[in-house]
């Protein structure tokens, strides 16, 4: 069956050609998407060539181990994948809006769409966004020079990119699974899904899963070991706390997923029977393993977003965060309970009422610390001086929308309600209702908040607000109808339906998805316009929002070593405290040489070889798999003998850069918060009014 040279690969596998064989609407969408990937890749290569960006791309980015650049690359990857995920969502909404009695897309194509959409949004949008954010912010917030393991960090990014690359390749060569992002066997087993689809899922998840686990370890060690002098755990900014807890969750939650995917690979490739119908296989084991990962995963994504809301509420209310200890405690509570609720993803599998009730009540318990957090952020805003900036617009949307997601979550936690709405569009409404206003709004707020630190200029405020409002409206119009449809009984993942009463709400949801597409376009437009007007928006002095934490106490963008001299920390909100004490830009007398990790190409080698490995395994190109694996191992062995691994920056160079920044800051008159979004804001905060206390 399998050719020694080409494995399962044939000309038929090329999706872009399907439209020429049979020009149906379905094939136009299919081949069009494949064509778009090819055209996009060629265009990217041409742009790099024309603007002579090949050398800078490799030298400054792909070979860099700087946590800030790795963070930016994670975010860029996530943004590209977000565009694909949103477009897929719109296509699905379009299909369903016209699906009474049969939609324009083939059922199989629709199956691939919901499977790629889910896989991409969780593993290649939300995760890289969160990891990118943590990469950029955490070392700066704890006053570190870089991650504990910078090269490992580069390799983790490479493995994540490999997974994303396999997803993109599946659009062009072959097909993706129709088994959903959860890939439940036995449907995804070799008997029922003999094609390459489930294998693309397996290898994308296995390879990127290893990268995520390594990232979790890296952050946990970095936060434990690399904090600035004086920064005890209870003086860390809240974002760092959430990053720490997320890292711990990653370390414990990813292995069950990796194991489940590996066992599925053994079933499919070597005829094992872990999850098959026959010979003692049991899909219930898979469901348990998957959700032992899947539930903590929800908190892996949302805790850092909660960290973002903690940071922005304090900064834009110009006030200390309310209930720091409470928020830390609530975060830890959520982390612990998140491992005790996984059965609520399958209350309907036939276990006893007592087991269901126990897991249902454990799920309700999570509502306590989560509710506490929302009240705490409201208490932070209370008695503050609130500026209604873009992050606060997102946060307001989050408050209103997220609690509705919480309400539907409480409903689903009740087994007796879940029996009715499980597997329906009500569930789809619920998880989008927590992930979009919770995670995605948090990320978009964070991008707006930290962008001036990353690139040295602010994002356009007006366009940013427009995007935020469009997201809030688009989300509401798209996903609230799904609650109604779910209650009316419409199952999720339906390519078509027969009940005419579904049609009106389906069409509303489709128009909503167009607003979301517009919102995403506005986000991209905001970035483009801001790049054009970057001089007008420049904040090189590094503190555009009158920030409270250490990352604002350095230039924007920060030097590769982050801080010329690592700051001494004496309490929470270290930078705000220092500003109250006096001149934070006073000249320093003494500088020391700084040792930094050297650039390396190992991450790039890992990206290329593991992508080849995954592709080879999917298509049964055994020779290529062996070659790729040999290259990977060889490169790691050879690389370990290849000096230098560190470079030392002379004290004079450090001093020159640092003096320049301090001197400019002292000469700038600074702006009060009233001039925050004007061209006068160069990133130095003038002392603001302090009210009568």
């Amino acid at each position: 069956m399998a050719d020694a040279l080409f494995g399962r690969l044939s000309v038929d596998s090329l999706a872009v050609l399907h439209v020429f064989e049979d020009a149906t609407i379905n094939n136009m969408v299919d081949s069009g998407a494949a064509g778009l990937v090819i055209v996009g890749s060629v265009a990217a290569i041409l742009v790099l060539k024309v603007f002579r960006l090949w050398t800078p791309l490799f030298r400054d980015w792909l070979f860099s181990v700087d946590h800030k650049r790795i963070g930016v690359m994670y975010m860029a990857l996530a943004l590209v994948m977000l565009a694909r995920g949103v477009i897929e969502g719109v296509v699905m909404r379009w299909n369903q809006s016209a699906a009474l009695g049969g939609g324009p897309l083939d059922p199989d194509h629709f199956g691939q769409l919901f499977s790629t959409h889910g896989t991409i949004m969780i593993f290649f949008v939300a995760m890289p966004f969160i990891f990118g954010l943590m990469n950029f912010v955490v070392p700066l917030q704890i006053g570190a020079r870089d991650m504990a393991f910078p090269v490992l960090n580069q390799i983790s990014l490479a493995l994540t990119a490999t997974g994303a690359a396999l997803l993109m390749i599946s659009l062009v060569v072959g097909e993706f699974t129709t088994g959903g992002w959860t890939a439940y066997p036995p449907y995804t087993g070799a008997v029922f899904s003999p094609g390459v689809g489930p294998d693309y899922w397996i290898w994308a998840i296995l390879l990127s899963g290893v990268g995520s686990t390594l990232t979790g370890l890296n952050f946990a060690v970095t936060i434990y070991k690399e904090r600035a002098p004086g920064m005890t755990l209870m003086r860390m900014p809240l974002f760092c706390w959430t990053a720490l807890v997320t890292s711990i969750l990653v370390v414990f939650a990813l292995p069950p997923l990796t194991a489940a995917a590996a066992l599925q690979a053994l079933d499919r490739y070597l005829d094992f029977h872990f999850f098959t119908n026959d010979l003692g296989g049991n899909m219930m084991v898979y469901a348990n393993l998957f959700w032992m990962f899947g539930h903590p995963e929800v908190y892996i994504l949302i805790l850092p977003a909660f960290g973002v809301y903690s940071e922005i509420s304090a900064t834009f209310a110009a006030k200390r965060l309310y209930g720091y200890e409470t928020l830390v405690g609530a975060t830890l509570c959520i982390a612990v309970i998140s491992f005790m609720v996984w059965v609520h993803h399958f209350f309907t599998m036939g276990q006893s009422a007592t087991i269901n009730a126990a897991f249902g009540i454990a799920t309700l318990l999570i509502a306590i610390p989560t509710g506490v957090k929302i009240y705490d952020w409201m208490a932070t805003l209370n008695l503050g001086r609130i500026r209604m900036t873009v992050p606060i617009v997102y946060m307001t949307g989050f408050f209103f929308l997220f609690v509705i997601g919480g309400l539907s979550g409480i409903m689903l936690a009740n087994p007796s309600i879940d029996f009715q709405v499980h597997n329906s569009l009500f569930l789809v409404g619920h998880f989008h209702n927590v992930i979009i206003p919770g995670v995605l709004f948090g990320i978009l707020a964070a991008i707006h908040y930290w962008f001036p630190k990353v690139f040295g200029f602010r994002l356009h405020e007006g366009l940013g607000k427009l995007a935020a409002v469009l997201w809030i409206v688009g989300f509401s119009v798209t996903f609230f109808p799904l609650y109604g449809l779910g209650l009316m009984g419409m199952p999720r993942r339906s390519a078509s339906f027969q009940d005419p009463s579904y049609e009106p709400l389906m069409q509303v949801a489709f128009y909503g998805s167009l607003i979301i597409l517009l919102a995403l376009t506005t986000v991209v437009l905001t970035i483009v316009v801001s790049i054009v007007y970057r001089r007008h928006l420049a904040t090189p002095l590094g503190d555009p929002w009158d920030g409270r934490t250490l990352e604002w106490w350095t230039s924007a963008p920060p030097p590769p070593w982050n801080f010329a001299v690592r700051p001494q920390v004496t309490g929470v909100d270290a930078f705000a405290a220092a500003k109250e004490r006096g001149d934070v830009y006073a000249p320093l007398d003494h500088y020391e040489p700084i040792t930094m990790p050297a650039k390396t190409s190992i991450g790039f080698v890992v990206l290329v070889t593991t992508t080849l490995l995954g592709f080879a395994m999917v298509w049964w190109l055994w020779w290529l798999a062996i070659v790729a694996l040999a290259l990977l191992v060889g490169a790691i062995v050879v690389g370990s003998f290849y000096p230098p691994t560190e470079i030392t920056i002379p004290a004079d160079d450090v001093a020159r850069e640092d003096r320049k920044w301090r001197e400019s800051a002292r000469q700038d008159r600074g702006v009060t918060r009233d001039e925050e979004i004007s061209a006068l804001n160069h990133g130095r905060a003038a002392p603001d009014m302090v009210a009568a206390e």
């Binding site: 449907y187 899909m283 399958f346 209370n382 009715q420 609230f480 109604g484 009984g489 993942r493």
Partner: protein, 332 residues
């Protein structure tokens, strides 16, 4: 705003349902189980609203009152307030305790495995791609693509599949339960009034997934007996060979053609092979690997080659015809 929208959509779907009679759903139920589930649903909304209304109320107040230009009282160092703390933790805790108590009782009361009082009609449901086979062992009949139950008599259903995992749901009568190959799950429900509704598989299982639904009719007892008699007189009988052809992947009309049914609609079958349900489960417990050509639902399935074992699977706690009391997650 969001909450208003949410309730508006819930209400509109409710209205749409009421208008679209006689198709009953979860929100306009036909029987006591779904009715209790609906009541529980609205109770949970009411309780949870106590915790979320403060967010809707106070967020705008705080944002307006403490906006920068308002120059209201400003306490930049205020970070803790013991009285507020009691409220912040107290409200969610009290509500969760109240919800947890209700969750516990409702979950036990509405346990799908709990038999309902009365003399039950026993139905064995077998999930196939993309239809359900219903066997009435005590009546000696079977149907594909239709379920008719008598009003006022409880239904004791046991379920399995002969392909991938599926999930069986009749919203207007009961919630859903998974059906899994080689395993048996249970669902108990009762129709308390006459009416029509729809049942379906909610677990994605391939191209024909959206077609895997069927009309459900609750009819008076006398009409039901007439219906049983009519099905019993059907020319088609559910032999092993017929069952093997029903297993071919396809929707109702494909299946009808495969077994020589004269109508496009529901298929009525008489005289099911004895122990068919137990033997379908036993297919996966022979101690030997199952060739894909013997596996209904696979691409290479061949009904001429596929054979069920002679002996049904021995099950714990099984009463007459397997519809007696049953233990949870019973898989042999």
């Amino acid at each position: 705003m969001g909450l208003v929208l949410f309730f508006a959509f819930t209400a509109s779907s409710f209205a749409a349902d009421t208008l679209a009679q006689p198709s009953h759903t979860f929100l306009s139920p036909l029987g006591p189980i779904a009715e209790h589930q609906r009541d529980h649903f609205f109770r949970v909304i009411a309780w949870t609203s106590i915790a979320i209304l403060p967010v809707f109320l106070f967020t705008p107040i705080i944002l307006i009152r403490y906006r920068r230009s308002a120059r209201a009282t400003y306490r930049p160092h205020s970070a803790y307030n013991p009285k507020l703390e009691v409220f912040i933790w107290g409200v969610p805790i009290v509500i969760v305790i109240a919800l947890a108590a209700q969750l516990w009782t409702a979950t036990h009361r509405l346990d799908p495995y709990k038999p309902l009082p009365g003399d039950p009609v026993c139905v064995q449901a077998v999930g196939l791609d993309w239809k359900w086979l219903f066997i009435f062992p005590n009546e000696g009949i079977a149907t594909v693509g239709e379920l008719v139950v008598p009003v006022g008599r409880p239904v004791a259903m046991e379920l399995t599949t002969d392909t991938v995992m599926q999930s069986f749901r009749i919203s207007a009568l009961a919630g859903q339960i998974y059906a899994m190959p080689g395993m048996r799950t249970a669902l108990h429900f009762k129709a308390s009034e006459e009416g029509e509704t729809r049942g379906e598989n909610t677990q994605y299982n391939g191209d024909g997934f959206p077609e895997q639904r069927f009309p459900v009719r609750a009819v008076p007892k006398a009409d039901w007996l007439d219906w049983v008699q009519a099905v019993r007189e059907s020319d088609l009988s559910l032999t092993d060979a017929t069952y093997a052809r029903i297993g071919i992947r396809g929707d109702l009309s494909t299946t009808g053609k495969a077994i020589g049914s004269e109508t496009d609609g529901p298929i009525h079958l008489s005289a099911p092979s004895p122990d068919l349900f137990g033997r379908i489960m036993a297919r996966y417990h022979t101690g030997a690997a199952l060739d894909p050509s013997h596996q209904p639902g696979s691409d290479t399935y061949d009904p001429e080659r596929s054979q069920l074992p002679e002996e049904p699977m021995v099950m714990h706690g099984a009463g007459a015809a397997g519809c007696g009391p049953m233990e949870h997650a019973d898989h042999g």
